[in-house]
Amino acid sequence: MKDDAGKTAGPLTGLVFAPGEKPIFRPGERIRIATRSPIGHYRVPLYLRGKTGTIEAVIEPAAIDNEEEGYGRNAGTKRHYYRVAFPMTEVWPGYEGSPRDGLRIEVYETWLERR
């Protein structure tokens, strides 16, 4: 791709990314935590399954799934963790605090579904 000398090049075309290299979700997006119930090592607490929240931040860089890492699999496809925001009233029925109160937690991309 030609670009004028002295000017910044435009976006690269034809660049292919590794699987999982680009985050699927962006800050502000509404997501739901999956409702699956794996046995064995998991890092998404039961109290969060099926809850709806908002992506607050993408954690960089992409990393190994810690649920796989627990079994010694230190390598493989990397994806993103996200810092996700939940109102406490969404997480706990009958929450006895301020309706403003919130929860933040890191969740791996494989656990997130678009709302």
């Binding site: 046995i39 090592h41 039961l46 079994y71 230190n74």
Partner: protein
């Protein structure tokens, strides 16, 4: 049926939101062996012999009864032993022999033997 499924689906350490007692603000200075155990965990992680997540998985695998009855670093060292066995790095026999050797060495260096045995915790 549902009751046993719930046991299987909830890891013993997954306690967020469960009912619990008032917090007692307890703390203790680490015993020397506990500090060595923590250092061992870090060194094993540096070498990727047992990474931090494997350690967590190993502690979970101890099951609810042991988790409830062993202290924090006791859980770690038992989990390390189990993981090292599974990876073929140590054998149960090698560890048992070494533990007996460590004990005997301490007794020999401290004029122990029968006298020491009388005070043993287990």
């Amino acid at each position: 049926m549902t009751e046993t499924q719930d046991l299987v689906k909830r890891l013993p350490n997954d306690i967020g939101g469960l009912p619990a007692e008032p917090i007692r603000q307890v703390d203790h200075a680490l015993e020397p062996w506990e500090k060595r155990c923590h250092a061992l965990a870090d060194v094993l992680d540096y070498h990727k012999i047992i990474n931090t997540e494997e350690k967590r998985c190993g502690v979970e695998a101890l099951g609810a009864e042991m988790i409830g009855k062993l202290t924090y670093y006791e859980r770690w060292i038992v989990a390390f032993a189990n993981i090292l066995f599974r990876k073929g790095i140590l054998t149960p026999e090698a560890l048992a022999r070494k533990m007996a050797e460590v004990e005997a060495r301490w007794d020999a260096e401290n004029g122990g033997g029968k006298e020491g045995a009388a005070h043993r915790q287990d």
